[in-house]
Subunit: 383 residues, 2 copies
Amino acid sequence: MKVLVIGGDGYCGWATALYLSKRGYEVGILDSFVRRHWDLELCVETLTPIAPIQQRLQRWHDLTGKTIDLFVGDITNYAFLDKVLHQFEPGAIVHFGEQRSAPFSMIDREHAVLTQVNNVVGTLNLLYAMKESFPDCHLVKLGTMGEYGTPNIDIEEGYITIEHNGRKDTLPYPKQPGSMYHLSKVHDSHNIHFACKIWGLRATDLNQGVVYGVLTDETGMDELLINRLDYDGVFGTALNRFCIQAAVGHPLTVYGKGGQTRGFLDIRDTVRCVELAIATPANPGEFRVFNQFTELFSVGDLADMVAKAGSAIGLKVEVQHTENPRIEREEHYFNAKNTNLLDLGLQPHYLSSSLLDSLLNFATKYKDRVDESQILPKVKWRR
Amino acid sequence: MKVLVIGGDGYCGWATALYLSKRGYEVGILDSFVRRHWDLELCVETLTPIAPIQQRLQRWHDLTGKTIDLFVGDITNYAFLDKVLHQFEPGAIVHFGEQRSAPFSMIDREHAVLTQVNNVVGTLNLLYAMKESFPDCHLVKLGTMGEYGTPNIDIEEGYITIEHNGRKDTLPYPKQPGSMYHLSKVHDSHNIHFACKIWGLRATDLNQGVVYGVLTDETGMDELLINRLDYDGVFGTALNRFCIQAAVGHPLTVYGKGGQTRGFLDIRDTVRCVELAIATPANPGEFRVFNQFTELFSVGDLADMVAKAGSAIGLKVEVQHTENPRIEREEHYFNAKNTNLLDLGLQPHYLSSSLLDSLLNFATKYKDRVDESQILPKVKWRR
């Protein structure tokens, strides 16, 4: 089966492309490299030195004999996208190709508009291209657990059955996204749902939690295949960021009270979840939603775990509660379901001290590359 | 109080601008005339001959002594929008300035992207401009009842209290929009809700039903003030369209079974609802939602009423069930709440035989301007 990975040069996309290639899928990567461009714009860099994608793909071929096709361009350019689809003829499309940072989207008006237009138009283009020529292709779209916000009731997977005034219906789960970026994902979800309904397309929305870790079996095969690892205030996410902070002796920056609870997963589960979604596609007309995480943690708990793991290997680690740049509940109920992927056979890599050790070692290995001026958050939600 | 009416050259916007001006508000109109441009693109025209806005405003001044400021430009141009706001300094902004036709948005990919980008970016620009310089200004935004779709439970006003697994929360009402246009309004609602939450802006989302009628006290004062009346397959809406079909001897085109039930209101109530929203603004940080309609009708019922009214004045009227170009439920439960505006004092103009007579007379007066080739729907939802 042919799988096109849009955004295959990014953190999740790269790991996914290699994993699927290794598993026997015929993989193509479509990427515009705009993520690398944004690094330049913000003057930030992945902790790990990542090679140009052409070199990455060459090395992958040399090591495994497997070829991954590369299509360089932007899916907001419909003519380009349509041409690629006709050339590659995918059976499934994995869509990571969006601006994925909440702080980036909150920098200013321009970045908010860029994020929403880029993400919404790219996905609309994809839906129209599929409708026109590949209506049976399965769209596997990366959403985010952040679409749900932090409601005071259990979070179901995409839909909720509501009884109201003696009647009953199963409706899309209400969304309370917390940034211009998260909003763009909510817009996407509504658009994709509609396209499935009227055109009979098949789609799976993977509402992913916060991904941690850097190694997968494939990206660990060679230094040239190494994955990116972001620690800066814009693209860095909790846990990965904490480990790097610990490695360089920077206090772990917990925003506010630290009671913010989120879904998390190991990047080795990200790639497996995508494969599970591909292997059992949604039905024609179905907009299927999976909550893609394996465990719930509060940010404060994570920091404590990293502090403990760091101390065990001799690092001095301090946890610092800093002013929260975001506007979000810092103490709240959070209970989200994630049974759909488990039912398909996902066997989670739960967060362990060995994973933390590995991440801390990675961070220590590359700590000379850290720019400490980029660690603290500069983008604020408040006006 | 100064009120800026964005989209004040359109059907609802024009009637609203004059009504508010008459009621003593200091009114400015911001409009790009892109609606007139789309008429040209599609080669359709309002049944009633509308004058250029400059002439309209001059006549309004001549008749009433009141001046309405005019700002010609597009709110997707942030620099222009920001300049206008600083010049006019509105206390409230009424935002009608969006692409508002479902069939237009469904013509093809380009029109879908145009609709979503135009509507979402225009509204984002407005939110950022308010945040930067007018955080206390009240945004009165036109949404649509079509955001809700046709759930099998009662439709509340914007929010619903859900009990689930023994817990309870009040969440945004789930949305099931039925076109790329309706989706754009759902995107707007989420964006505005977020802006209120994080920046403390105040906004009222008017989820308006299908508007009918052409006369208001103000637009009826003079031929030069006449409002637009659309009957074509793209911009024409039920009831107005039926009356014009009746006038020219065209069968009333009911799409499918005709059991599609929607909220409706007289344009004289539209203008009053907007004033009620302005007069009692939302609180800082509040995203307030009003369902703006006065009665529920099925499309089939409306056609029967027009047929009856037409026959009474000697027209031969046939009701024809045509293939439904849309994908929507044609028989369904529909019960929407609309008490918020009634509680503020709205006294509805319910649909009456005299209103139908007036509309039929209007249609008859201008029937020589009808282009019958534009009546049937050409845009289809199905792929």
